[in-house]
Amino acid sequence: MGFVSVWFLLFCAAAVLLYYVLPKKWQWPLLLIASCAFYASYDLRYFGFIAVTTVSVYFAACKISQLRAKQNAYLQEHPELGKDEKKAYKAKTKKKTWAWLISCLLLNFGILFALKYINFFIGNINAIISIFSESKIPTFDKLLLPLGISYYTFKTAGYIIDVYFGRYEAEKNVFKVALFTSFFPTLLNGPIDRFPLTAPSLFGEHSWDEKRARFALQRILWGYFKKVVIADRLVVAVITIVSDPEKYPGVMVAFGALLYAAELYCDFTGGIDITIGVANLFGVEVSENFLRPFFSKNIAEYWRRWHITLGTWFKDYTFYPLCTAKPVMKLTKFFKNKFGAGAAKRVPIYVASIVLWFGTGAWHGASWNFILWGMGNCFVILVSQELTPLYKRFHAKHPDIDNKWYYKTMCIVRTNAIMCCLRLFDCYKDVPTTFKAFGSMFTKPSFNMLNGNTLLNLGLSAADYAIAFAGILLIFAVSMIQRRGSVREMIDKKGFAFRLAVFALLFAVIIVFGAYGLGYDSNSFIYSKF
């Protein structure tokens, strides 16, 4: 039951109806039942994995909370204890909570590793072994990859780490943890939500709110528009180009990268729009994952605006802890003694950035393409940081240039050009092919290929290009308007008839111009594979 199916719409309609008809205390249990049903519609075998994650995280978080409560109670009951005794007692408790945290993380990331990365890992070991001998470690043929495993593993890992650091108390109800882990709109594309942000609305009681429902439905429609009218239309041409790099070199690689940028954006943001819209129908608030990323003026900004919840997860749970981790501090000290303060101050940032981007790359997929894609991003960001003095000098010479439209445009174009190049890792089947395709843009530009004949042989008709182009223009226009405020609020102020006309039109466009049905795989979201 993918997002793009009549069954999903009927399922949501039935769930919403029951949600507001049943007594309010039954609302969150109903969401849990709906989430289980949604999950079961994919594969019953997935249940075991998500259940293990839920129970282990629930149990470990409760244990950590209990240990900390016990520690606080003990310290309160024994005010006579000296500073050193208190410290020793706290250290003992910390050791235990640390053990619970690490065991839980090892278990859950172990499952993720075993299912998602084991074959990649074995493949690399085999490549090394092959240098010395002919023997090979066998890979696993039929590994299950439970739906949303990367999302719910990271989401629950964030939860237990926060509980460990005492940011909030552990949830005492295992079923509430189960709902947080498996809330069905977030299983396919995320976002990677934080417990304290979602919990109040997820477990709270909600009355029907016409405006909220209206906005939610509008958001869902907008998501479907992006997904089925644009993303699923463009994917045909993208696949044609990237699956035959010999036939489509040079300028066609660039063209494919541009199409892929539009496809990826519409696919992912479309999926997130549907997710947020559906969650809002139940009164549940989930995090925004995008903030018009294609308007970013540099890569760091781009990553603050693209897949925001993944970026903040890595920042909060790897980057910052690593920057202050003891081994990194030691390394910093070592660098300070050997190479001076200038080099030393870079150590924590470099180490944390490399780990962060390695992790981000690996999160996207078990292949060197994704890891190099991550490291590519890391490289660009670090180089950009190293060039900061140069930028500063330039801006000192041209103090007003930041406000000039041409400079802003140049920065935006530059950022998107770099991102398009980095995304080639995401498109082509392996690293050598990616480099070959990238290189062909300079060695074999083949500008003559950019003609009607070639373009119409990519699986898209002239009408398809026209629809995709018009759709992208519409998204661009909406993004421009969004800079001044909420488009839905603006439409809402225009009155009922106008609203109805706009959304009836959008509905008709999706129904008629959507690239779905026989021959299309509309239920495949790029980010649901990650």
């Binding site: 199916s5 109805l500 008709a508 129904i511 690239a515 049905g517 026989l518």
Partner: protein, 356 residues
């Protein structure tokens, strides 16, 4: 305030439903310029449901049996519920659907589809099923017919399949958005008056590895037989006298055995070509694959005698039958004349032209 909200919700739902219906009606193929046979299934619902004999099967019935000829000569009230490459499960559900409206005395099933043990082509499923009225029978028919890449919902809401026709729309799509195109068949029969003779020897089939029919075909044949029995209809099996696709003797033997086992009448008209008087140089419009109207009338005349002997009643002289069949006969003659005129003027006929 609350009533205002309810009113708004109702308006919204109405607008979206109407929009959906209008788009669906616009984008559904009208089958006026190509694959005209796609109109056959829906046309049944417009007929008077007073048929004593119901033919089910593929083009071997809807192009070879003329109900008007049966009426004129024997007073048999019949209808052909056929569709292109109608598979046996299509036939079963067509029959089940027809039995919701009427109970014929005799059901004639053309056995050629026994050779197909699995869905062949989505297009044929569409031609057979899209015209069927929504019912549990249709749902079951869809489930039985769908190929793995198809979805049930796209049959219930065909716009999900045909939405991409937006760039193929023609004037007929708008003209027949809310009304049916002119009746294509006469009681389910599709007429062709032209002739393309068979000038060579009839084709002979290649040797097969296995001549046994698929289990699923036997299962559905049994279901058809049981359904007829439950509804008091006599099941008759037939094989039309067309030379292609080739009908193997081994297949025939299996049908004979089944018919004997269950006491059913089975007519393989390939064995009676001379007796019927079919001349493949004059009575076919595509070298023996389908009969033209002259061949169909000969076959109907011959088969009519058998149907009478099987108990098909003569309804001539009964006012309600006379009334409905008079209209059909008149239309039949008009189509015949219309096609004859086209043939004289242009020398060729394509599709199944009918006057407006």
């Amino acid at each position: 305030m609350r009533s205002k909200v309810i009113l708004r919700v109702l308006i919204c739902v109405t607008v979206f439903v109407l929009l959906f219906i209008c788009l669906q009606r616009l984008l559904m193929p009208k089958y006026t310029r190509e694959a005209e046979e796609g109109r056959l299934t829906a046309e049944y619902y417009g007929s008077d449901k007073n048929h004593d004999v119901l033919f089910i099967g593929d083009c071997e019935v809807y192009e070879n049996i003329s109900p008007v000829a049966l009426w004129r000569e024997y007073g048999i009230s019949s209808y052909v519920r056929g569709s292109p490459q109608q598979l046996i499960w299509h036939s079963y559900y067509m029959l089940e659907d027809a039995l919701r409206y009427e109970t014929p005395e005799i059901v004639v099933f053309n056995v050629l589809s026994m050779k197909y043990g699995e869905p062949q082509n989505e297009a044929y499923n569409r031609l057979a099923l899209d015209g069927m009225r929504l019912s549990s029978t249709k749902i079951n028919a869809i489930k039985a017919s769908m190929k793995s890449e198809e979805s049930l919902m796209s049959y219930i809401f065909p716009i999900l399949r045909f939405h991409s026709r937006w760039n193929e729309l023609n004037s007929d799509d708008f003209k027949y958005m809310f009304c049916s195109p002119p009746q294509l068949s006469v009681a389910g029969y599709l007429m062709r008056v032209d002739c393309r003779p068979l000038t060579t020897d009839p084709p002979v089939g290649h040797q097969l590895m296995d001549y046994s029919f698929a289990d699923i075909c036997w299962e559905y044949l049994e279901k058809i037989r049981t359904l007829c029995e439950e509804n008091g209809a006599k099941l008759v099996l037939m094989k039309a006298p067309t030379v292609a696709p080739y009908w193997y003797a081994e297949w025939d033997a299996q049908i004979i055995e089944y018919a004997q086992k269950h006491g059913l009448a089975y007519y393989n008209f390939l064995n009676s070509v001379a007796e019927i008087g079919i001349d493949y140089t004059a009575d076919t419009y595509d070298e023996g694959q389908h009969l033209n109207v002259w061949g169909a009338e000969k076959l109907s005349s011959y088969f009519g005698k058998e149907l009478v002997s099987l108990g098909a009643p003569d309804r001539r002289g009964k006012a309600d039958y006379e009334q409905s069949w008079a209209k059909l006969c008149e239309r039949y003659d008009r189509i015949k004349q219309y096609q004859t005129d086209i043939l004289e003027q242009t020398g060729t006929i394509t599709g199944f032209p009918v006057p407006d």
